[in-house]
């Protein structure tokens, strides 16, 4: 039988040749996504590598090609979730000018993300805190970023005296706690309802109550018209 020339031969559907590197990267990503679901649904402490391998539909041996252990996988999943969230928040704040608007945009985007991705939110705000000292340090680094962003409020405040030096840590930790609590209760999809209250708690220490409420009202109005 005559054979078609090579360039006319039909390639098998979905079987484009991927490099070994691409296959590895794809599999690693698949494991991380499966692990995120496992940790969020079962809780990190009782989750096992077997659970993750089952969810990712891979052999346990393949898991260890990519990760040293369960904790290593948790850290990779956390970094991925937080990295993507930071990109989204940065994009949302880039369109705003001035600290109050940027803080509101960041908070709003964060709540939208939590509502849209409750499993990722549970991993990043709840389960990471049960992952041991390294995981906790990683979580602390994220909180430090939030604390640094909140400190921008000191540049726009005209309150005298300014808030005490513990203000940013209190706000960041308070927000994290409140969100973690809602997620634990299975209410992640409803966190957007908290925007007004949380926004006031973020802005008020620097702007005072009246100015904070004006900023929030203007931001919400713009959101509606957008």
């Amino acid at each position: 039988m005559a054979r078609l020339p090579q360039h006319l031969a039909k390639a098998p559907v979905g079987r484009e040749r991927l490099s070994r590197e691409e296959l590895d990267r794809h599999q690693r990503r698949r494991i991380i996504e499966a692990a995120t679901g496992v940790f969020a649904k079962r809780g990190y402490p009782p989750s096992t590598v077997d659970n993750i391998a089952d969810a990712a539909k891979i052999a346990v041996g393949s898991f260890y090609v990519h990760f040293a252990n369960k904790e290593d996988c948790l850290l990779a999943a956390y970094d991925l979730v937080v990295g993507e969230a930071r990109e989204r928040v940065a994009a949302a704040t880039a369109a705003q000018s001035g600290w109050p608007r940027q803080a509101l945009a960041a908070l709003h985007e964060l709540l939208v993300l939590i509502a849209a991705e409750p499993l990722q939110a549970r991993l990043a705000l709840v389960e990471i805190q049960t992952g041991g000292p390294v995981a906790l340090a990683r979580y602390g680094e994220t909180l430090d970023l939030v604390i640094g962003s909140l400190a921008g409020g000191r540049e726009v405040t005209d309150l005298d005296p300014p808030p005490p030096e513990t203000q940013e840590a209190a706000t960041a930790n308070g927000l994290a706690w409140l969100l973690a609590q809602r997620i634990l209760r299975g209410e992640a999809k409803d966190v957007s309802e908290l925007f007004g209250q949380m926004a006031e708690v973020v802005l008020e220490p620097y702007l005072g109550g009246a100015r904070a409420r004006r900023e929030i009202a203007a931001f919400e109005k713009d959101l509606v018209s957008a």
Partner: protein
């Protein structure tokens, strides 16, 4: 303001040798590496004696946790009830909580972070309820606010959550808790939404109330 009764609490958790042994072993080895045989041995009991009281490690952890919640909250509530008026009652309760944690550092770490590694979702929920209870003591300030409806609903949870998060991180890192030093800043955050900046500022420099007699159980 009361926390709902949990299962299995005891009047004096420090009198139960298995609870004390459990907390010691977890503090030394971590949750995962703690096994029933070691706990029984540390308590001077046999494995059979352990098995006669608990179905396994998880049940022992859960009941120990409930017992210590009860002891901790009894001290906090007594301090709160013993001081008329808000924020004085809240301040007394905050120092009582700080003192209890200073007096029982291992137990505080067990309740704060040790139980997070447990497989029981119920323990996590109960742990949250303790902080929720503390938030209700803060939110009693709503009645003192000039305009109660203007105080954000999230204010008490934010105030207690900040402390809870910071304590959790210090416990996980094995750092000193310095709970007493945290009280003025916590009081500032707790009082400000209800009574305003001026009253909150006073909390930052206010001397702590006299300390009542030490809580039960010695230093664990």
């Amino acid at each position: 303001v009361r926390l709902a009764e949990g299962p299995g609490g005891r009047a004096d958790p420090f009198a139960e040798p298995l609870y004390v042994a459990l907390i010691d072993v977890i503090a030394e080895r971590g949750y995962e590496a703690t096994d029933v045989d070691s706990v029984a041995r540390r308590a001077g009991l046999t494995r059979d004696e352990f098995d006669a009281r608990f179905s396994g490690k998880e049940e022992c952890v859960q009941k120990a946790f409930e017992a210590f919640i009860e002891d901790f909250l009894r001290h906090v509530q007594r301090a709160y009830d013993g001081k008329p008026g808000w924020p004085g009652a809240l301040r007394a309760a905050a120092y009582a909580a700080a003192d209890w944690m200073n007096d029982h550092p291992r137990t505080a770490r067990f309740g704060g972070v040790g139980v997070l590694a447990a497989r029981s979702e119920m323990i996590r929920v109960r742990r949250e309820e303790v902080f929720q209870y503390c938030a209700t003591l803060i939110d009693a300030g709503r009645a003192e606010a000039a305009d109660p409806s203007a105080v954000p609903q999230a204010a008490p949870i934010m105030a207690i959550g900040a402390i809870a998060q910071i304590l959790t991180q210090r416990m996980q890192k094995g750092e000193e808790l310095e709970t007493e030093r945290m009280v003025p800043a916590m009081m500032y955050q707790a009082v400000r939404p209800y009574l305003g900046e001026e009253a909150a500022r006073q909390e930052l420099t206010m001397a702590r109330p006299d300390r009542p007699g030490s809580s039960s159980g010695g230093s664990r």
